[in-house]
Every structure is written in structure tokens, then in C-alpha cells.
Subunit: 331 residues, 2 copies
């Protein structure tokens, strides 16, 4: 046992403080329950639809909680951030709302909807090549040269605490329905959402098992949890989950997830396509591949949920129409 496990860098009090900062600033997304889906899965599924959040993903929460704590000098200097898309949109929107200039680094193969969305929100977007350029090096150079403040996508205590506010809401909304969550499932890339939600749910509902869900091809957290130490993904792997492609678990997020998660599940691209299709048919929600991973895990039978009550987060809904069109049509 290491000291990080004993004293995690994000406490429940940090998440509660974030919830205070975010009050009336984020969408308090209403919990959805769908009879068709419950019947399909033989369980009670309580759905947290973060596709209805500002900019279409949970990322607004963490970005807002980080940027609202900028000093006046930092506000003047601006934001620099990197992201495959949803964090970019969130940071751009937070910047626009607070009157702070944002520069965003996005991979050149990011969904057009996400790149255009960030530009429409007033951000300066600089594209980089995922294979040949290092986004952290470029971002750090910009920060050092201009004084702009880096808002990391996940490896930051304030960002993690912001994402955790979703866990407080999920837990309280379940309680309001007189439901007790046996488990809660969230998507996992760098692990910020998982760490934040696990921190909140561990405090409010300690008997709820929190699982993270990764693409099979980017199962770094699953392998890291198994081996007890952070391991990365081999180069050259691919997944339809553009939002869940990370090199390795975060330095700050991993110890929290190691301490609090029940484990990590993995899903195939075909599992994810099926989940997007079912979310379209049963829920009438637009869910992007990375956001559909928890539903994919349930539909693919990765967890024994029969007659249980399960919370899932549909974490994002930004997907180019031509791709969504292929996902929802039967193969």
C-alpha cells in the first residue's frame, strides 16, 4: 500500500466544493429510466445522460471547476488545453462564458464536429499529428511562451473533482427514486471521470461498486489495475471510441482508481456500435462511441446485473453524422 492510496489527492470535500461552484452553471442532467431497456437487460438501469450537458459531454464540469479558480492574472493570460474533442469543446465554452481566450490542440483526425464546435465557441484550434507530434510538448511550449494556463483533460485535482459532481448527482437522484445502486459504470480514458465519480459514490453510497469501461484496444487501466502499476497501450492500436484513446492511466487519476474502483471492463467496437444503436432506438439519445461504452458493457453481458439496480453514465454525444448514420443502421 502506498501513500497515495492512504491520502488520495482528491477528497469528497473537494467534489462537494466543486458542486457548489458549479451550481446553476452546469446542467443538472435528469436521471432517465427506460422500460424497454430495463426489460432488455433484466435489470433496473438508471441513466445519467451527460449528452445533454453543455457542449454535449461531462467534460464541461471539470473544465469549469478548474477555470473558475483562475487568478485575475491567469484569466488575462488565457487557457491552453489539448483534447481529442470533448474536453476541447468544454474548455472553449467555459472560456467563452468567462471571457477567457482559449487555445486548443486537437489531433488532425478528430471528428469534424468537435473541431468546428470549438472554433464556433471562439477558441483558437491548432491541429497536430497524433503519430508524429507530442501534444503535451506543444502545449507546454505555448504555456511557457505566453503564460497561458494549462487545463489538463484529466490529470488535475480540480478537473477530477468537477467530474465527480456527476457522481454526487447520480447518487442523490437514485436516492430520490428510493433506489440503491448495486453498481455504477463510467467510460475510461485517462480516468478522470472514473476517479471523480468513484470518490463521490464511495462517500455517498459505499456499497455501490464503481466500474470503469474501456475499449478492448485501449485497456491500459484494466491491465494497470491487474498488474498494480501503470502500464501503457502499444502504439498503432485503433478503436471507434475517439474519446477513449489514451497512452496510459493518469499519474493522479490512477491511484484514486486503484483504491476505489471495483475493476475495469472492456468492450469491442461491435459492442459499442450495438450500444449506440440501442440508445438510438430505446432511449432516443445521440451517444458517441466513447460515451456508449458502459451501455455496451451491459448489453454484451460483461457484468452479472440480473435484477440489480445499475447506474450508467452516457458521457458524450458528439459524433459526426455520417459515422452515426452507419452505427445506427443494422449491419
Amino acid at each position: 500500500m502506498n501513500t497515495k492510496t492512504l491520502a488520495p489527492s482528491v477528497s469528497f470535500a473537494d467534489v462537494e466544493a466543486a458542486a457548489q461552484r458549479l451550481r446553476n452553471r452546469v446542467v443538472h442532467t435528469a436521471l432517465i429510466e427506460n422500460a424497454a431497456l430495463n426489460e432488455r437487460l433484466g435489470a433496473r438501469i438508471l441513466i445519467k445522460p451527460e449528452v445533454l450537458q453543455h457542449t454535449g459531454s461531462f467534460k464541461f464540469r471539470g473544465a469549469y471547476n478548474r477555470v473558475i479558480q483562475f487568478t485575475p492574472a491567469q484569466r488575462e493570460a488565457g487557457i491552453v488545453a489539448w483534447s481529442s474533442g470533448n474536453h476541447a469543446l468544454a474548455v472553449s465554452s467555459v472560456g467563452a462564458r468567462l471571457g477567457i481566450q482559449a487555445t486548443i490542440l486537437m489531433p488532425s483526425d478528430a471528428p469534424v464536429a468537435k473541431v468546428e464546435g470549438a472554433r464556433k465557441l471562439g477558441a483558437t484550434v491548432r491541429l497536430y499529428d497524433r503519430k508524429t507530434e507530442n501534444r503535451e510538448a506543444i502545449g507546454t511550449e505555448i504555456a511557457e511562451r505566453t503564460g497561458a494556463v494549462i487545463v489538463p483533460p484529466y490529470d488535475d485535482p480540480h478537473v477530477i473533482a468537477g467530474q465527480g459532481t456527476l457522481g454526487i448527482e447520480l447518487s442523490q437522484q437514485a436516492t430520490a427514486l428510493e433506489a440503491t445502486l448495486d453498481a455504477a459504470l463510467v467510460s475510461c480514458s485517462g480516468g478522470g471521470l472514473a476517479a471523480g465519480v468513484a470518490t463521490a459514490i464511495h462517500a455517498l453510497s459505499p456499497n455501490t461498486a464503481v466500474w470503469c469501461v474501456e475499449p478492448e484496444q485501449f485497456d491500459d487501466t484494466a491491465r494497470s489495475l491487474a498488474s498494480g502499476t501503470r502500464v501503457g497501450n502499444p502504439a498503432g492500436r485503433q478503436s471507434i471510441c475517439d474519446a477513449l484513446q489514451v497512452q496510459s492511466p493518469g499519474d493522479i487519476t490512477f491511484p484514486i482508481n486503484q483504491a476505489l474502483l471495483a475493476g475495469a471492463l472492456t468492450v469491442s467496437d461491435e459492442d459499442v456500435r450495438q450500444a449506440i444503436r440501442i440508445a438510438y432506438e430505446d432511449l432516443r439519445l445521440v451517444v458517441e462511441p466513447g460515451g456508449a461504452a458502459p451501455l455496451a458493457a451491459l448489453l454484451a453481458g460483461k457484468l452479472d446485473i440480473r435484477d440489480k439496480t445499475i447506474g450508467i453514465v452516457l458521457s458524450g454525444g458528439n459524433v459526426d453524422a455520417d459515422k452515426f448514420a452507419t452505427y445506427i443502421q443494422q449491419p
Copy 2:
């Protein structure tokens, strides 16, 4: 002025009674506000997403309010109903929940998703030819032969009162946001939703103008309001709004709408396609053509809404994936 205008067949007390019957039986759909849409339209748009209702449309409300009032003998005899789809799904689901057998007449060109959905819910579906058969005659014959009770799609006071519960929620939810609705827009086919919502909003928020929205090709309510008497649509017309194709306004609904509506707006198929696309991009909601008509009217500039607060109902989200795929992709 006629007696129907003086004493409408559905009172606000009827809608309130329906709301009591439906408590904890329908989804109290959360009002959605979207910054991107507000900016696009230069107005504050409060969205009632009935695509998240049971069976994916507002129709569950009216069907439930009618069927829950069956006598024991009527429950035994079963339900007969006709519908292009959403009322069929709603009646099938209500029947399944209350253990009452339902027989549904649907046009042979109804969306496959709606026909299959009704069958999956346990209803007996009988297809008829929209051009050569009269669904009301077939339904009446079944009712007379078997004793089954007809649950009409709109021309029934209990059905209208049930749909009106949505108006109560919309008004109360707007008030909770300290917003005053300048106008509210709902789709219009037979006029049951419009009549119910107008009854509720007229009582709770008398300065709110309630508009109904029709396809250009099925503008029977617009022409009926203009002429002061019910007129029908010429045969052979077509629209992508499969849910909004009616022969003429209802016998019961029209006098209510005549007394309470601000007027009727019309939208083209292209207006509707644009609205479906924007709902996909900005709202991440799946909206069917008929359900997108109010948003289509706003996007097409059919009403001066600048700096106003407008409530819209997205009334349904049941649309075959191959069609939805074409709607969301730029032409």
C-alpha cells in the same frame, strides 16, 4: 360564438385530474435548455423532450388517462385503436402495463420501428391500406363484434386531458426557472396535443400564446382556423411527417383549438429535415419528423421570437434508422 366555445368539452380541472392519475406513471420529462440553440435563434428556448417519454412520444399520456378509467368489464374486453404509430405504441404499452389486450390498426406504410414496437409490446397489429381502407370503419367493426373499447388517437376528452398534462408540466417547469413563456409551440395532427396543452397553459399562463405547427401539405387546422369551420386536406398529399397526416381537425379538438390557439404555423419537409439535423447536433436528441415541426417553425423564422422566451414540445422520436440517417446528413 358557438356553445362549444363557451363550454369546452375539456376543462382545466379535467387536465389536473389527469395529472393526478398519471403521477408516477409517466415520465415527468425534464425541461432542456441549450446554449447553442438559444444563440442560434436569438431567443430563450425551453424544450419539453417528449422523445424521452415512455414509448418515445407524448401519446402515452392520453392513452393512459383513457385506459386507466376503463371499467372491469371494459378491461376484460380489451382495447382497439388506430394510429400511424405513436398512439399505437402508447396504447400497446398501456395495455401491457395494465394487463389489457390491445388490437391496433396501423397503415401498411407506417415506419417499421413503430409496427415492430407495438408487436413487441404484445399488441395484435392489423395493417390496412391508407388509400383503399377506412381505419375507423374497421376499428368500429372490431369494437362492435368483440366489445373492445375504442381508444381514439385524439378526439376524446380523456385523451386530450392526458396530453394536457404536458402543458401543466411545461408551465410549472418554466415558472421554476423564473421564466415567463411568451409562446409555446406544439405539433398538430388531429389537434389533441394542441387542445390539451392550450387548455393547461390558458389556465396557468394566460399571456402565453399557444401555436400549433402543421406540415404545409396537411395544413387543415390552419385553413380551418382561417375559415372558421373544419375543412379537410385534399387526397394524395405527402409529407415526411408520418405522424401529422390527418384528414381534418377533430370534432372535439377543433372547437377547443379555435377558442384557445394563437394560430397555426406551417413548415415544409425541408424545414423539418433541418430541425431534425439541428436537434441531432445541438441537442443530441433523436426527433422524428412530426416531433420536429415546432423547432422547424422557429428555425425557418415563422414567428418573431427575438429575445423572447419560447416553449417547444419535441413530441416524438420514433423514426427508422435509414430515414434518420438521411435526415442528419447534409444534403
